[in-house]
Amino acid sequence: MSSLTSVQRLRTSARVQRQISIGIRLVVAVFLILFSLFPILWVISASLSATGTLATQTLIPKNPSFQNYLTLLKLDQFPFWNWFLNSLKVATITSLLSLAITTVAAYAFSRFRFRGRQTMLKAIFLIQVFPSLLALVATFLMISQVGDILPFIGLNNHASLILVYLGGAMGVNIWLMKGFLDTIPRDIDESAMVEGASDWQIFTKLILPLLRPILIVVAILNYISTYGEFVLARVLLRSNEQYTLMVGLQIFAGAQFTQRWGVFAAGALMGALPIMIIYLALQDQIVGGLTQGAVKG
């Protein structure tokens, strides 16, 4: 009898303990969420603030208005839609082409056995580690020289920017892709091969459908990193109407940061939105990809 009550007491105390622990953790979660969201809320508030300078802004804007957004779309030195479309164009083309190049190459690395295969794989990885920032001068010189002959892949041109991005495409994702391909059993290919299918048929008809999840992840990660890149773009693109959004935002921030804080906030927010939506909508797939070895860069 007495032992029963003690067990009951133990149970209730365990339940109470668990509830307390959940309560504490919820409080911690609230603090963490505040820490995480504060800068974002601050930008939203700045973009809605009527005065639009850094010094006068408060968290809850006085007289909130969409004035900054309207200004943003009218400013000549801030052609938002132009930059935004440039960014979407460059990121979309780059990520699709890079996906195609990487997948086909990873298939060859995973399925064929040839001399120098390991050396090439290692070399590709090491080359990718080279700090490309400094190769920038060489890249710039090269693009300007090529542009003297073929202007459409010269300076201030999206085609050349995309080509340069694609030059780094294989290095980043080929290991991830090959790792995934290695997990697909080779019996599949071999049975198809016996039936006389060519490598290209095996690749397109059998392997590609199986690769779908990883293809999505690689394409998205690529899209996000291209969308956010500004160093190369800033060096290769020379005129206002050719800038990508990140280059434009950075230059705008450098020029009149504190005075046009509200306009900057509005532009930043609208520019960040597509990526945030992609992330939150596909977070499970992306998390899967991240844990398999891609680092945001």
Binding site: V129, P131, L133, L134, A138, I149, M276
Partner: protein, 531 residues
Amino acid sequence: MASNASLDTSKKTPSSSAPILPRLVGFALLIALDVFAIWFSTRLVFFGYYPLLAAFLVITLFVNVVVLRKQAYPIRWMLIGLILMAMFTIYPIIFTVWVAFTNYGEGHLITKEQAVDQILDLKYLPESGKAYAWTAFKSPEGDYVLWLIDADGSAFLAKPGEPLAQPLPGEMGVGQLDAKGVPETIEGYQRLNPILAATDKTITEIQFGEAGQTIQVRSPSEAAQLVPLYVYDPDQDAMINQETGVVYKNLRGTFTSSAGQQLRPGFVASIQWTNFRDFFISPALRGPLVQLVSWNFGFAFFSLLLNFSLGLAIAIMFNDPDFPLKKLIRSLLIIPYTVPALITILVWRGMMNPELGVISRTMNDLFGWSPPWFTNQWWAKIAILLVNLWLSYPYFMLICSGALQSIPQDIYEAAIVDGASPWQKFKSITLPLLLVAVGPLLIASFTFNFNNFNLIYLFNGGGPPIPGTPTPAGYTDILISYVYNLAFSGSTGINYGFAAAITIIIFFIVGTITLFQFRYTRMWEEVSENV
């Protein structure tokens, strides 16, 4: 492995020779490519872009070999990727390595031939030399011609940019000659009287006659042919000044006299290991570089420690399948990670702005004091670590919660039976197993932060500046941002050669860590097993 390859090719032969059409199309494409390559190469030669030409020819040759040789069949699958990589990644790297052994930079941007040509173009008016008596004519548009008579009495007509002519009266619009042998009129021009001509400042600045043999007015009565100021002596590899006799010897890409005077422009010259030696032993750079390198490692290490600890703590805290609102909390917590870093870093810069930013204003209101985020080196370092924590803990949270779920629960149950405390469970089970899973990502993250240029550059540009350094450097600069300033900031002495040398040193550091990562994760062994 060998049998497999032969299997592949034996399978290939029937399937690739049977359809003639694709092969013909392939050859047609290759021929088109080669035609284009030949045209492009001739253009490169025309412009004198020889390094690019070499790279282009190597790549074209490679493409031809791969397409024509049957053994290269697997390479065809990755051909486009390899071409792009060779052109836009490897070629710039080779260029950078070459530059690291030169003095390429401000004042040393052109080739030696170009520099020599520019210096040889300099002229001076010798005290003696072939002299003429001159008379000036001026057109209504302001063009001048000179009528020159040399010591033998021969007369010449000199126009800027044209060879000297010896017209007789009636030719080239030249009218009747007067008593001194000077034409009274030249068609289209007005003869200037000697006083007017002697006071006209423009005349003395004009070079008459064809390039290389130009004639300039030296005094009211005399005009003389200009001669080159310098003569190049290939034996000494030196420039000799004809007016003063001073010898300027080639010293690391600049013609320098024994007194230390330098001729502009300098040129790109190989200086062997000097850039690397400077990095390790130059006394002027010692102080700032020791500071830079130690902060670089410190920054990468503490970033990793802080970001990983917070991410792990959160992951453990919410690693509970029944926790309420779990999905929502995770979605909210990863938001910092979803905004492009450029935007959030700039926003943090605004929020921490010493006078105007919200953080500083709030702290000023509450405590009457706010940390000098941008002017004090320690606060600047703390600010950077804080911003980086905000940026990257969601990533660690995500990978840690993924890894935690892969740890089998029965290990914990066994530990509870043995009476292990929560701390012991964490220390002896969770942490070791977790580290095995996420270890490679931690190393990758360390190397990423080691070169985290965006954060430093966008947040405070490496400031506050270290006083008294020969090249601009700041207390929060890491190697890569310091290198960027060396190579691109126009303020003081762009030194691309030195910047390239540091890049290579960075590459060795990061490359070593990467090799270690391979060893640690057995990535390469895995590759070997697959073979």
